[in-house]
Point group: C2
Chain length 406, copies 2
């Protein structure tokens, strides 16, 4: 008898709990797995032995169903990178000893780019040390959609659905007055513009929004931006623009760098505040019309009440597949989505060696950005469209969605 | 045969189109009304004769149903106050002549506080000039919930549902890391804290959020605020705070006044930017922990995909009632909601003389704010709870809600 361990790491999404659900479901149907453990706060909870047995908690379908409509990480999360084991192996030894203590034979780590780094390091340590009774598989999640090898990442579809819906609603809101006005909507994404591009899906039902899309893959040209706006304002009164949080100038510096103090988060990522606010001030100064900036902020990653059914389904499937892969004796891989075709959309799951994934970033291909650099192409819209389909039958109580709480 | 005219004015809400729907429905069932006209951009569209016949457009149930799931004003809006007719009656004469030209016998104006000023002025002009063949009735809408005489305002319930849901989701998002962090969420409301108070409804399903609520009815005490936060941070790691956009200090000045330039909107209202951002900087400086501010921005008034079914139903009913009242020969009134009881919730419609409503503001009663000034009472939660109940069967296409477009 071996036990299965699952943990969640990195930033919240609307789908990461569906992946947890998938892992638990796969664990439960295997009679050779006695206990399914969840670690609180990712790898930190393993190191500090903050483990909880999940079997009883999820012994009924309702708990699993609620889990799938609960945003963020039910087990908690962390933002921790392990040191290289070649330099300092003490944490690795500790993790393995805790795995042994709890008879953990299979470990599924759900997370984004930084979490796959942990999967890579831990599995390569086990391999180097000939530890063959611990199997480690990564399950992807990130609203940023920037993991390589997988067609797309769970969490992205729900964030994209929120963004497309919100742009359609913002269009309705901003079109009521007959006076020149610019609305700048800042979308998450430091290094990848996938989410910003998702704003284009608001056009699918006929709204002419956004008027321009500037993603962080292309150097941002202030002069061209102002020219774009002035031209559009001569044609219509309400102009709506989508911009990536991580817009950079031709020298690779964040355009809003001068606006904020140079704080960094736990990973050393720069804290960005204000591409939208920065451009708002610029438009006010240089054009002088009514201007507003909107930050979609964390709502774009936690608005699970409007999650994509396709996204939640795939996230759940990936969790099950990752657990299954570990149980079947594989290690050092990530569960990936392979797109078979678009219309009608079909996908399947495959597994890719984690070395090909960790610490790599998949950006929007430059050929999916228009030549002028102020919009995305039809191909990009067609790529995202299948991922935002379907709505969850969300359970409400007291007028608000019910969330699962551990 | 007389015609019915309807127009929308003021800021967008998720329910103002449901009221338009109600007006149209009431007009359609009356065989003595030949045409239902809609004016583009409120009173501006009347003055410039931008009128559209609505009968054919809404001759099928689907168009009306889509209208009710479309945020903002389908007819467009304006922010215009008429001059006093005693000083300058030229606009009033023009309006009456256009009414005569189009055989308008009944006019329903849907809007908030500034729009009810128009209803008041126009109906008092007609009364003074013995114009008895034009009947003018106001139908309320405002997410701010600050109109007097009516128990609450259409649009408020949907905004409150969005806010309560979003706070529950933000709670999930912000609770994943085990490090001290403050999240400050800025909610709309210059002079009334109803929407900020609605954040408390996130607690109904068991989430301990927000930890503190500061509404603009109470002078904001910076020192007390920092003390509140420090105390709470000693008890738990993630502290979430709701603040009104219009927080003022003991001298009645906006707390963020020093942060932004003193622009004013078309009504002379000060443009507020940044109670949340202002407090974020203060917490970073004075406490030094991780801190983030979130502006719910226009999403709180246009997220019709999560509208309150009760709100949309009442908004539609008020539109019908307002048109009915005008057709029955009354003028210079606003359709109001009277709450009969809370559990189970029951309401009815009544009409109140517009003089009692125009240019008055209903704030949160001070007895519904806790003594410490950092939360709201049970009574306030019980007042809002019935208004956020129920979800619309929203029609989606291409993964996003379908909106009606004129």
């Amino acid at each position: 008898m071996k036990n299965l361990l699952v943990a969640q790491s990195g930033g919240p999404t609307s789908a990461i709990n569906a992946t947890l659900c998938g892992v638990i479901e796969r664990g439960m149907i295997n009679t050779e797995i006695e206990k399914i453990y969840g670690a609180h706060n990712g790898i930190l909870g393993i190191l500090s032995e903050k483990l909880v047995v999940l079997n009883d908690i999820f012994a009924n379908a309702e708990a699993l169903q609620l889990l799938c409509q609960t945003p963020s990480s039910a087990l908690g999360s962390c933002r921790v990178k392990l040191a290289d084991w070649q330099e300092n192996s003490s944490e690795y030894e500790k993790i393995v000893s805790i795995f042994r203590k709890y008879h953990i034979g299979y470990f599924v780590y759900i997370g984004g780019n930084d979490s796959m780094d942990t999967v890579q390091k831990l599995s390569s340590y086990c391999k180097a040390k000939n530890i063959e009774d611990i199997k480690i598989i990564g399950a992807p999640k990130t609203i940023d959609n920037d993991l390589t090898q997988t067609d797309h990442c769970p969490g992205f579809g729900s964030a994209a659905k929120y963004i497309a819906t919100t742009f359609a609603e913002i269009y309705c809101d901003c079109s009521v007055y007959d006076i020149p006005a610019v609305t700048i909507v800042e979308v998450m994404g430091r290094d990848a513009g996938w989410l910003t591009a998702a704003s284009a899906l608001a056009r699918c039902n006929g709204h002419t929004v956004p008027d321009f899309i500037y993603v962080c893959e292309r150097a941002f040209d202030t002069k061209k931006f102002l020219e774009d706006l002035k031209k559009k304002l001569s044609e219509k009164s309400s102009v709506i623009v989508a911009v990536s949080e991580g817009l950079k100038n031709e020298y690779g510096s964040y355009i809003a760098q001068s606006m904020h103090n140079e704080q960094t988060d736990a990973f050393g990522h720069k804290i960005l505040a204000g591409a939208g606010k920065f451009l708002e001030e610029m438009v006010r100064r240089e054009i002088g019309c009514k201007v507003r900036s909107i930050e979609l902020n964390i709502m774009q990653r936690c608005s699970c009440h409007i999650a994509s059914a396709v996204d939640i389904y795939e996230a759940r499937l990936l969790g099950s597949a990752a657990a299954d892969r570990a149980i079947n004796g594989f290690s050092g891989e990530m569960a990936c989505i392979q797109r078979i075709k678009n219309m009608p959309y079909e996908m399947k799951i495959n597994f890719v060696n984690i070395d090909k994934i960790a610490n790599k970033v998949k950006q929007v291909p430059l050929e999916w950005i228009t030549k002028e650099g102020n919009d995305v192409t039809k191909e990009l819209i067609e790529y995202i469209l299948p991922l935002i389909q379907g709505e969850l039958p969300v359970q409400y109580q007291n007028g608000i969605p019910v969330h699962f709480k551990l």
